[in-house]
Symmetry: C2
Subunit: 338 residues, 2 copies
DNA sequence: AAGAGATATGCAATCGATTGCAAAGATAAA
DNA sequence: TTTATCTTTGCAATCGATTGCATATCTCTT
C-alpha cells in the first residue's frame, strides 16, 4: 500500500540503501551491472523517488520563485512564459505569485517563498515598493535573485531591463521627426526606474531638438485606463496646446486615443500618439498604436538562464550585470503624419 | 551560522523539542505561558521553520500544480491569476507549467508535478491530448484534480467550464436575429469538448430557426491567426455564399475581419462576425468584436476553492460536480446590422 | 485524604534519501 | 606471492519537524 522506498529495493536485492541511492543517481562509484539491475528493479517495483525527502536532505528544492505585479498582464505573462520554458528544460519548477502592486502582499510573498526555500528568485517589484528588506532576505543569504523590468538599484543582483531610456528617446525622436512641436509625456510613477528612464529619454530627445522642454508637458500618473482618460481630459479641457503625446504605456495610449476620438479630435491627424510595451491590442486597434516593443518572452528566458547559472555555480558572483535588451520602435498609424 | 532549529530553542529554554513544535503550531496542549515564552524566544533567536522538513514529515507540500496550454494567453493568465489569489489567502503556493499544447510536454509536466508531490492539480488539457494516464496518476491515488475549460469526460473530478453550448447558441441566435441567412461556423478541433459544445450550440440555433443546417458551413481549424486567414480566404475565393460567421475564438474573428477589410468586404455591413472569449483586443479593435465573455478570473478562483476544499477535507468525494459558469453575449459593432 | 480527571510536558520513533568514511574485494605491479 | 592500488559496496549518522504514547503535576470531588 505504501510507496516503495530505496530501502525496499535494497532489501529485495540484498544491497544497502546507499547503493540504491547512488545507482539511481548515476553515481559513477556504482558498477554498470548493479546500476542496471537496480534501475530495472526500481521500475518493476514502481519506485518513485520522494522528492521531499531528497529536498530536505540536500536543501535544494529545484524550484524558482517568481513575483510579478500582475500575472494577468501581457508583458508579465510573456516573461513568465519565457521563465517557465527555460526552467522546465533545466529541471526546475516555477512558483508564481502576484503582488497586485501592493507592498504588503509583495512582502508576505517574499517571506513565504523564502520559507519555502526556493533556490532562487526572479521578480519585478510593485509600484508601491520603496524598501527592500524582503529582498535582502534572499541576497543576504546568498540566494540568487534576478530582477527584471522594474529593478532596484539598492540591491546587487543581475538585472534584466529593456533600454527604457532608449525607448523613450526613440519614441520622442520619432514624434519630433514627424513634425510635432508640442509634445506631452504622460508617464508613470517615478519611484520606478523604468518610468524615470523613459521620461529621461523623452527629455533628452526634446533637449537635443530645437523644441523647448516644458515642465507642464510632463505628467506622471499610474498609467491605468481610467487615469489615462482623466489625464487627457484635463489636458484638453485645460486648453493645453499639444500635437503629440508619448504615453508611458499602451494602455494609456489607448485611453487617450479613445477619449480624443470621442471628442472629435483626430489621431494621428490632429495629435500623434506613441505608447510603450506593444500590447497585443496595439496592433489591431484603429488607429493601430505606434509603440516600443519589449521582448518579454526572451527577457524571461534570459532571467531564468542567469538565475539557474547562479544556482548551479556556487562560486560567489562579484560582478553583477545589468543586461539591457534592445527596444524596437514599431511605427504604426497613430503616429504617422499623412 | 547555521539556522536555528526547534532543538536549539528547546535547549535554551530547557523544554523538549516536542513542546517547541507544539507551541509554535498553536497546539492547545501547551499552556499559554510557555507558548508565549517559546514564541518570543523563537523570534529572538531568528528561528524560521524549515518547511521542507515539515513537508517531508507531514507529506503535504501546500503547493498546487497548474498546467495550462499557454501561460501567455489572456484567458489562461486570467485563470491563473484567480487561482493564485485564492491559493495565496489559503496558504498554498502555486506551481505553473505550460504544455504548449504538446502532449509529450504535458505528460512530462504531470509526472514532474506528481513527483514533486503537489497537493492537488488544476489543469486545462492541450489540443493534442487524447489519452489520460498522466492524469489518472493523480486521480488514482486520490490526489485531487480539478479541470477547467478544456475538460475530460473520462476522468472523475470536479470540472469548471463555461457553458460553451449556451455560448455557441447565443452567438448564433444573435446572428440569426440580426437577419443573417447564411451563417458559417469556423470552429476548433473537435477532440476538445468546448469546441464540440460551441458547435452544437451553433447547430441547435440554426435548427431552431428557419434556416438550413449546411454541412459545408462548418469548418474546423486550430483557431490560430494564420489558420483563420487561410480559412476565410478559401471561403471567399471559393465563392461561398455567406453573410455571417460565428468564430470559435476572437483570434479567428480578428483574422477574418482583417482579411475581409483588406479585400473590400465590409464588417458588419456585408458580413456579421461574432467571436468567443472576449480577448482584451476585441473591445478596442475596429469594428469592435461581438463575443462571448468567459469569466476567466472567477473560474480560476472557483477551481482553486474547489481544489483546496478537497485537499483539506479528506473525506472521499463521490459526487463530482461540473460547475458551469454562465456565458455572456457582448454585442459590439462587428455584428450590428445597421 | 485519596482517587479521578484534567493539564502540561517529555520520550523516542519516524519520515526517505544522502554522504563521509570505512572496508571488502578485485586487480595490477613488483 | 605479496603489497599497493583501484573499484565497489556498506555503515551509520544526519537533515528538522511531527506525533502517539507515557509520565508528571495539579485540581477537584467526595
Amino acid at each position: 500500500m505504501s510507496e516503495t522506498t530505496i530501502h525496499d529495493i535494497a532489501k529485495k536485492l540484498n544491497f544497502s540503501a546507499s547503493t540504491i541511492s547512488r545507482a539511481l543517481n548515476d553515481n559513477p562509484l556504482i558498477s554498470d551491472g548493479t546500476r542496471n539491475l537496480i534501475k530495472k528493479t526500481a521500475k518493476e517495483m514502481g519506485y518513485r523517488p520522494n522528492t521531499m525527502a531528497a529536498n530536505f536532505r540536500t536543501k535544494k528544492t529545484n524550484t524558482i520563485g517568481v513575483i510579478v505585479p500582475l500575472i494577468n498582464r501581457h508583458f508579465f505573462s510573456s516573461v513568465i512564459s519565457g521563465i517557465e520554458e527555460v526552467a522546465y528544460t533545466q529541471g526546475f519548477a516555477v512558483t508564481i505569485s502576484q503582488s497586485n502592486d501592493n507592498f504588503e502582499k509583495e512582502d508576505k510573498i517574499a517571506h513565504t517563498l523564502f520559507a519555502n526555500r526556493v533556490d532562487g528568485l526572479i521578480l519585478s517589484i510593485g509600484m508601491e515598493t520603496t524598501t527592500f528588506d524582503h529582498i535582502k532576505l534572499f541576497s543576504d543569504r546568498k540566494i540568487p535573485v534576478v530582477f527584471f523590468d522594474r529593478i532596484v538599484d539598492e540591491i546587487k543582483a543581475h538585472k534584466i531591463v529593456v533600454n527604457d531610456f532608449e525607448g523613450g528617446y526613440k519614441a520622442t525622436k520619432h514624434l519630433i521627426d514627424q513634425g510635432a512641436k508640442n509634445i506631452v509625456h504622460i508617464g508613470g510613477p517615478l519611484n520606478l526606474k523604468i518610468y524615470q528612464d523613459r521620461q529621461e529619454g523623452f527629455c533628452r530627445a526634446i533637449n537635443e531638438s530645437s523644441l523647448e522642454l516644458d515642465e507642464s508637458s510632463i505628467i506622471n500618473t499610474n498609467l491605468t485606463r481610467a487615469e489615462g482618460t482623466k489625464t487627457i481630459e484635463k489636458l484638453i479641457k485645460g486648453g493645453k496646446k499639444l500635437d503629440a503625446i508619448f504615453c508611458g504605456n499602451d494602455t494609456t495610449a489607448l485611453s487617450v486615443i479613445i477619449y480624443l476620438q470621442k471628442n472629435g479630435i483626430k489621431v494621428p491627424d490632429d495629435i500623434l500618439i506613441v505608447g510603450f510595451s506593444n500590447e497585443p491590442f496595439s496592433e489591431v486597434v484603429t488607429p493601430s498604436i505606434s509603440t516600443i516593443k519589449q521582448p518579454g518572452f526572451s527577457m524571461g528566458q534570459t532571467a531564468a538562464r542567469l538565475l539557474i547559472n547562479q544556482i548551479n555555480n556556487k562560486q560567489k558572483i562579484t560582478d553583477f550585470k545589468t543586461i539591457t535588451m534592445p527596444t524596437e520602435l514599431i511605427i504604426r498609424n497613430s503616429s504617422k503624419r499623412t
